[in-house]
Structures are given as C-alpha cells and as structure tokens.
C-alpha cells in the first residue's frame, strides 16, 4: 500500500539546514499496523506528514497504492488524501467552535456526501466509538479520552484505507490510553492499515512491526516478537 524509496526531507532557514529525513525507505503492506519509534527530533512526525501527503519530500519517491505521489501539487494531494487517509493527533485537533457531531462530519462535507447519508455515517461511527450521547457537546466539555474517541471517529468516518496516528495516547491517562489502543487494534483487525508514531513501548506492543528512527534514518525494523526479545 505504501512504499518509499530513499526519502529525504531538508528544512532550510537562512542559516541552518536541517536534514530531517535521510534516505528513508519503507514499505507498509495493506492491513499492517506499524509503530514508528525514536527519540524527540528524530523525524517521526516529518515522516508521518509526508506519508499523510501533508508535505512533500525534498528527494526520493513515495508510492501510495502503487502511484507516485511525492511530487504532486497541494490540491492533487488533497484530492487523494480525502477519504483515503484519516488522521489522529496527540492533541486531538478538534475545532473548538463546533460540536462533536459537526467535527466528525467535517471530512464527509468535503467529500460532498449528501446530508442524510452523512448523518447516518456519523451516527454509526459515534455509536461505535461509544460517544453518541455526547454528540451535541463541544470539545472543551469532554474529557481527554472522549475527545480522542471523537478524533478517531472523525478519522474513520469516511472509511479510509489508512490511519496515521501521531502519539494518539500522549495526552491520555493509562485507562483512556488503553481504550484508544483497543479501538485502533479493532480497526486494524477490520482491515484498516495503521501507521502510528509513539514514544510508548507499551503502545508499540499493539503493532505488528516497529520501525526505529534515529537522526532521520531507519536504524532497525523488528517484528513484534523480536522487540519482545530486545526488551527482555
């Protein structure tokens, strides 16, 4: 589903040039659950942004579903992204000014899905995330765990093939964090590909495979069992 070949990403300011990604080659198959780990500043979020087509790489190739997307214009990227990729963030990124229902509906609006259909889709995903009793509340009125469930609802409402999660449990206590991980695992079991950036060894255990980044390069790629071994 995803294949990158020698991705580079360089950030330039007037004086400093930072190599955020260095020759990153990665393949993620349909239905996989991959965790990306590494210390702060190693390039995890940059990689995720490129995989999510929020940003273009400086060099290298990026194939999404078999077609090269690394050089596309922003509006083309937006078109491919819509309905194919869902995002989950550490800080939830819900719009404070609109309620739960409207936040979840957002991607469907831009996919130009008809009103009644939208309502049905939102209802079913809210039921599933066990948050439908809060549909008329505003983000500030919810607990962190509830907010993240809303964010996941928004990420999956359009049935995307891929979910990109950036530290999804980073702002949550362990009970809520576990709940979110269970939700992601369940989605993965139903066939959604998931790539998750995390600091938490505990969370990474839910993944099939772990990619370790250090200073912008992939240093190790282990299957889950090997990770267990390393940990022991």
């Amino acid at each position: 589903m995803i294949k990158t070949v020698n991705l580079d990403k360089i950030f330039r300011t007037d004086e400093v040039e930072t190599l955020a990604l260095d020759q990153v080659s990665l393949e993620v198959k349909n239905g996989e659950f991959v965790a990306v780990m590494g210390p702060s500043g190693c390039g995890k979020s940059t990689l995720l942004n490129i995989l999510g087509m929020l940003d273009n790489p400086t060099a290298g190739e990026y194939y999404f579903d078999g077609s090269e997307v690394g050089r596309l214009s922003e509006s083309r990227r937006t078109d491919i992204r819509k309905g194919n990729i869902g995002f989950v963030f550490q800080s939830f990124n819900l719009i404070d000014e609109i309620n739960v229902q409207d936040n979840v509906e957002l991607p469907l609006v831009y996919l130009k899905i008809k009103g009644q259909k939208r309502k049905d889709m939102v209802n079913s995903v809210l039921e599933r995330m066990k948050i439908s009793h809060r549909r008329n509340h505003y983000p500030q009125q919810l607990s962190g765990g509830q907010q993240q469930r809303v964010a996941i609802a928004r990420a999956v409402v359009a049935n995307p093939k891929l979910i990109l999660a950036d530290e999804p449990t980073g702002n949550l206590d362990s009970k809520n964090g576990l709940e979110v991980m269970n939700l992601l695992t369940e989605l993965n079991r139903e066939g959604t590909t998931i790539i998750m950036v995390t600091h938490s060894l505990h969370d990474s255990e839910f993944a099939h495979r772990i990619v370790n980044l250090f200073d912008g390069s992939i240093v190790t790629e282990n299957l889950k069992k090997e990770v267990d071994k390393v940990l022991l």
């Binding site: 999510g52 509006s75 992204r81 309905g83 995002f87 719009i95 831009y110």
Partner: protein, 785 residues
C-alpha cells in the same frame, strides 16, 4: 505619572513600533478631525460676536405676506427707514436706532488711472458707531457723520489706496465722481462679520450723490438696527412695536418684528445650523472611530503580551502596577498624538480654510485655556482607550497567561467585533452622506436654472450721464459679429436682485405680496434664454407696453391664484399682464422661487443698470474688447468691469456653501474609511491567528483553499450586513431632517452603492491576509499548537 512607568511606557511603545504607529496614526486622524471641526464650529458660532453690544443689537424687520393663499410671512426692511428709526426710539427699551444703506460694488480711487473695485461698503450715520464696535487708529470714533462727503476706511483698504502712507485727512474719489474726505481708519473686522464694510460713508452723502434718502418710502438696501437698553426684554419690545404701522392707510397688513444679530448669519446662509450639527456629528464619529481603533489594536497587541505580563506577575508586580503601565502607555501615546495633531492642524488650516471658505486662525498657541482643554481631552481619551486592555490583561491568572488561553476569550472577540461593527456603520453612514451630497451638489450645479448662463458677459454701470439710449447703443454693438444679443435691466440673475411688495387685482385690501421686481429692456427674455410659456413678450409693436405692460413668472401666477393670468392687473392696476415666463432662479439655486414681475423700461441708460451680452461662442475676447471701448467712450466718467455670468453663478453663497459641505464631507469620509480599514486590518490578523488551528484541521480533512477563504471572510461580511442595518435608518433620519427646497430623494441606489463600497473596502483590507492564511500549508498551521 510616575517616572519608571513613563519610561517603561516609552520603551514598550518603541518596542511594538508597528502597533503603536497604527494606534498613533488613528488617534492623530481622530484628533485632527475633532480639532478642525471644533475650530470650525467655534468660528461659525462666533459670527458678529466681536461687537461689544452683540446681545443687544436687533435688526428691525417688517413681515409681509408671501402670497394670498399662503399664510406664512417673510421678513424685509420696513418702509421709511428714518421715520421708523425715530418712531422706535420713542419706545421704552430702545436705546438707539440706526439705519445703514448697503452700497454694493463701488469704485474707489485716489488717482483717475487706478480704480479699485470694492465689494462691500455702507452709508451710515453717527449712531452706527455707537451700536457696532469699530476700533479706530486714533481711538476717536467719527462725530461728523452728520455732514456729507465724509468717509472712514478699513486698514486693509487704506493700505491698498495709499500703500502705507497716512490716509487720514486725504481725499478718495468714489465712482470717479465724488470726492470724500477720509476722517478715520478702522481696524479690519473679523471675516466672520455679517456686515463687513471696507468703507463707511456719511449718510447725508447718499442723498447728495444718489438722490436716495432714508426719509423716503422705498426701503430697498436699507437695514435698520436697534440697540436695546441693558436688561430690556426683546420679546416685550417686539410685542410693543409689532403694530407700529397698523393704523396707517395702505399699511394695514404691516407688522414689525425684531431679529437678533445672532440670527443674521443664520438668515444669510442656507441650512446654517444643519451644516454645524452635521459637522459636529462627523467630528464625534471620527473621534469615536479612532478610539475604537485604539481599543481594538491594543487588545490585539496585548494578547501577544501575555508572557510578558505573566513574568512581571511572577516577579511580584501587583495588578495596580500593570494597570498603571497600560494606562501610562495609552496616555503617553494620546499626548504625543495631540502634539502631532496640533502641529498638523496648523499645517492643514490654510487648506481647510480654502475649501471651507473660512478664516480660522490657529490661535491655540499661547491660548492656554484652549490648549489645556485639548490636553485634558487627550488625557481623558488616553484613559478611556487604555482602561479596557489594562483591566482585562491584569486580571488574567498567571497560569492562563502562560498557557495562552486568554487568547480565546470570547468576550473580547465579541467586543472587538462590536467595535468594528460600529466603525463599519459610521463609514456606511458617511459614505451615504457623501454620495448624497455629491449628487445633490451635482444636481444644483447642473439643473436647469431657467436661463442660459453660458457665453454671457455683463457690465454693471451706474451713471448720471443722460442722453444715451439703449436701443441705439444696442444696435451699434450688434453690428459686430461677436455680439449676438444684448439687453439692459435693473437686475440680473445671480448678479443683483431687487425686492419689494406688490398688490394685485383680486387681492385683499391692503395685502401686499413679496416679489422680485425688474425693469427690463426689449429682448431681455430672449437674450437671457428665458422661456415664454403664455401670451407674448414685450414688443416694439405695442408702444403702450412701456410702463403699462408686465410679464410675470409661473410662480407669480400660482401665488396670485390666477387661472388665466393674461389681462390681469398689478400694482394698483398700473400694469397689465401680457405674458408669462417659465420660472428661473433670480438670486441663488437654493431658495424657493419668488414671484417675479418684469416691467418694460427700454429708454435711457441712466442710473444703475446691468447690461447683458450674449457673445458668439469663441469670440469672447473680441466681445470684451468691443464692450470695453464702447462703454469707455460712452461713459468716460463711470468706472465699470466686464464679467462672466458663469462666474457670478459660481460665486453665489448657497452654491459655494454646498460645494464646501460636499468637499468637507468627502474629506471626513476619507478619514473614516482610513480608520475603518485600520480597525479591520487589526481584526483580521487577530482572527487569522486565532483560527490557525481550525484552518489546519479543515485543510487536513480535505477543505479546499477557496472554502477556507470564504469561511474566514464570512464573519466580516456578517458584521458588514449588520452595520448596514444599523447605518441605513440613520441615513434616512438625517436625510429627512435635512431642509432644502430642491432636496433630492434618498435614492435606494445610494444605499446599495454604500454597501458595495464598504464590501470593496473590506475585501481590500482582509483579502490578502485571509487568502494567504487559506493557502498556508496545514502542517505549518498545526505546528503552532
């Protein structure tokens, strides 16, 4: 203000140069507007106030019926000014009464070669100087004005005539004929004087030179003023003299009244008080806009100062100290703005005076009471604009300040929106007003005034020479291809106009109607391009037309209540109506039309007459030189000038008044739009920052740039829509309150155009920032979190 706070204030202002600059600019614009407006209002309200007896001087007027069908009355000078004056002096409360005669254009000279045309001068008696305040160079008020051929002149005129040499005791010649002895030189009167003569001639001279006496019955050009005693009650005096003439034969309908000197300016300028309160309103509006601006920008500015305030608080700064700091900054800024504004005002005053036709002096330097007033005002404004951010920012908890959560405070957003809403409303209001004045002035300038003022020159000539007949003179001039037509008349529209009262066949006994008389030659109607709507023009084929026939205008027909005017009689049956002309404007473009009666006097060119000539287009210079030589040859002793009728039209008071109001309203509308744009820029940059996260999330979820752009602009357009709802009724009310006989309706397109203009201004101000925000990479947007 404590020294440290002052220093920190200055430092902070310098640190945030852009914000302080914009705040300062807004305050300066507001202050300059308010200072200009208040100087203007003070100037306008101080007309004639230089007179020591200002409160006690009254103009004696006579009420006359405007028409048979209309009960309203107009005011003109009483008959027999001298008799009226001496009768009035018998009444209790009247201290002194004087009559003056307005001379109009005259030529003064000390040598035959150089004639000075002086527009304003009067004839007066000894009493005049007891009523009105004049400062004479030698401190002596003239006491020999009972003798003929005495004159006093202004310093300005003395300077022009004698170029600095002493004028007193010298001789000056009037109209090249009569020598007058200069018995005094007086200090120039303020420009805002209703009667502002350059020369004052002793009253007996008038009878000796012109044959006009205040003892005569005709009151034209006379004004009678009364000085009331200290503590006298003008209302009681008015009641007492009301029926002075009631019992006299032929004067049954006459009543007298007293008009305060304060009302002279009001009566001479159309819509005087309206102009003043519109200006006052505009001043208040502009000042409030600049205050809103400041509050708006300082709230925006203070939100980025959260960290600074938090650190100060952590280090022990008390709330009072923070409040003092904010107030200190705003007051420092306000006082700086005042200083800049006072300077700018002095720079702008000559320009302002030239467009407003005023003579306002920047007299606030050294006038400490005025400066203190302005300074107190500026300090108050400083407190006012600083108060809200000061109390708001200092009340936040340290934790909130650090987290930056105070940014989202929805109260503050609502307040800022309300301020921008008010700014929008004021701008829309002023745009509507500007548009209205533009089309109104355009309408007055271009509307059909009833005659053709183009390609027409005229000569005003007063002569005692006899023996030249206009018919011959005219025939001689018409030989030239440059002159197409010529006429002679007592009065010429926009140049001079007579006034009087007349009775009519079928009127009530004793009733007299106010009208505009004019004695004209043959061809007057044709030469002026006045349309004849019924009957016939004066004709050389009807010898009895002379002193028997008359033409009236349509308004006269209406006022007299005639169905068939032809054959009706006027003025004790002396004149018979032979034709009706279409209405034309006689004195200005603003006042309602009066009845006009034209009588035929085609004979000699003696006395005061105006000669109008229509020239072949393109042959103006030829026509002028021909007239100069013909008039010069025929009347070698009588000075004259040749002028354009078009420029007489342009110089007329009401026309100039409308032009100045239009220019001033446009100027201040420009100010207000500038302020609205600044306010808007502040709000939009704030809004874009505040919504950065939302923009990012929406874009990640597939929202196209165009939709983001619309989303960001929608809130401004909502504000804009509300502001229209607020402003339009105000426009409607002001339009309703505005008087004027030729007021245009408030066309709906004016309102729509104001909406279009404000939409354009809004897009210009917000478009770029919002478009940039919409185009931004969402990753960048979310990095802000």
């Amino acid at each position: 203000m404590n020294n440290i706070i002052f220093r920190i204030s200055i430092r902070n202002l310098l640190k945030n140069r852009f914000t302080s600059g914009v705040c300062l600019l807004g305050l300066v614009v507001g202050f300059v507007a308010v200072i200009l407006v208040s100087l203007f209002i003070r100037y306008e309200l101080s007309w004639d106030k230089h007179n020591r007896n200002y409160d006690r001087i009254f103009l004696v007027q006579r009420n006359v019926a405007l028409s048979a069908t209309n009960a309203a009355t107009g005011s003109i000078t009483p008959f027999t000014p001298a008799v009226t004056a001496s009768l009035l002096e018998e009444y209790p409360g009247f201290e002194k009464v004087t009559s003056v005669y307005r001379a109009g254009d005259r030529f003064l000279s000390v040598s035959a070669e150089r004639q000075y045309r002086i527009e304003e001068g009067i004839y007066a008696d000894n009493n005049y100087f007891d009523l009105f305040t004049y400062r004479f160079a030698d401190g002596q008020q003239p006491d020999d004005f009972g003798r003929p051929f005495m004159v006093v002149i202004s310093e300005n005129l003395a300077g022009r005539l004698f170029e600095g040499a002493g004028a007193e005791g010298r001789v000056v010649t009037i109209d090249g004929k009569h020598d007058l002895v200069i018995v005094g030189v007086f200090a120039d009167l303020p420009v805002n004087s209703s009667i502002r003569p350059e020369y004052i001639i002793s009253m007996p001279t008038l009878e000796r030179t012109e044959g006009i006496s205040p003892d005569g019955i005709e009151p034209a050009s006379f004004l009678t003023f009364a000085l009331m005693g200290q503590g006298a009650d003008p209302a009681a005096a008015t009641a007492a003299i009301k029926d002075l003439f009631a019992g006299r034969e032929g004067m049954e309908m006459e009543t007298l009244r007293l008009g305060a000197l304060a009302d002279m300016r009001f009566d001479s300028v159309p819509d005087y008080y309206n102009i003043i309160w519109i200006f006052g309103l505009i001043g208040v509006f502009i000042l409030s806009m600049s205050v809103f601006n400041y509050v708006n920008l300082s709230i925006a500015g203070s939100s980025v100062r959260g960290r600074e305030i938090a650190i100060k608080k952590i280090n022990g700064c008390k709330r009072g100290g923070l409040i003092m700091q904010f107030l200190g900054e705003s007051m420092v800024l306000s006082v700086i703005a005042l200083a800049i504004s006072l300077y700018l005002t002095t720079v702008l005053l000559p320009f302002f005076n030239s467009i407003m036709g005023t003579a306002i002096e920047p007299d606030f330097y050294g006038n400490w009471s005025v400066v203190a007033l302005f300074a107190a005002g500026a300090a108050a404004i400083g407190l006012l604009v600083g108060a809200y951010p000061a109390f708001l920012m200092s009340s936040n908890s340290i934790v909130n300040l650090f987290k930056g959560e105070f940014r989202a405070g929805s109260d503050r957003i609502r307040l800022r929106k309300a301020l921008v809403l008010l700014q929008f409303s004021i701008s829309v209001f002023l745009i509507c007003l500007s548009l209205f004045f533009l089309i109104q002035v355009n309408h007055l300038t271009t509307k059909d005034i009833g005659f053709d003022r183009e390609n027409m020159i005229y000569v005003q000539l007063t002569t005692s020479a006899e023996g030249t007949f206009f018919e011959e003179f005219r025939n001689r001039l018409l030989q030239s291809p440059a002159i197409l037509n010529a006429s002679m008349s007592e009065n010429l529209p926009f140049v001079n106009f007579g006034g009087g009262t007349i009775n009519r066949e079928g009127g009530e006994p004793g009733e007299r109607v106010r009208y505009r008389p004019n004695q004209v030659s043959y061809d007057f109607v044709g030469n002026m391009g006045i349309r004849l709507v019924r009957g016939r023009d004066f004709s050389r084929d009807h010898p009895s037309d002379i002193s028997h026939a008359c033409l009236v205008n349509e308004t006269a027909v209406r006022y007299f209540g005639w169905d068939d005017p032809i054959g009706r009689r006027l003025d004790n049956n002396r004149f018979t109506v032979v034709g009706v002309v279409a209405d034309y404007h006689v004195m200005d473009i603003h006042n309602p039309l009066d009845p006009v009666v034209l009588t035929l006097a085609p004979g000699g060119m003696t006395g005061s007459r105006v000669y109008a000539f229509r020239y072949q287009p393109g042959y103006r210079d030829e026509a002028v030189s021909l007239l100069a030589s013909e008039f010069g040859r025929e009347f070698p002793d009588d000075p004259f000038e040749i002028e354009e009728l078009e420029s007489a039209f342009m110089n007329e008071n009401a026309y100039r008044g409308y032009q100045t109001v239009k220019k001033a309203v446009l100027l201040f509308t420009g100010f207000s739009i500038l302020l609205a744009v600044t306010g808007l820029l502040g709000l939009v940059s704030f809004s874009v920052v505040r919504r950065t996260k939302e923009i990012g999330i929406r874009k990640i979820n597939g929202c196209p740039d165009g939709t983001i752009f619309l989303l960001l602009n929608r809130e401004f357009f909502v504000l804009l829509g509300i502001s229209l709802v607020v402003a339009w009724p105000g426009v409607w009310m002001v339009h309703n309150a505005f008087p004027g006989a030729y007021k245009l309706p408030l066309y709906p397109w004016i309102l729509l155009a104001s909406a279009a203009a404000i939409v354009a201004v809004t897009l210009a101000a917000t478009g770029w920032q919002t478009w940039r925000a919409a185009r931004r990479n969402p990753v960048e947007a979310l990095k802000y979190e």
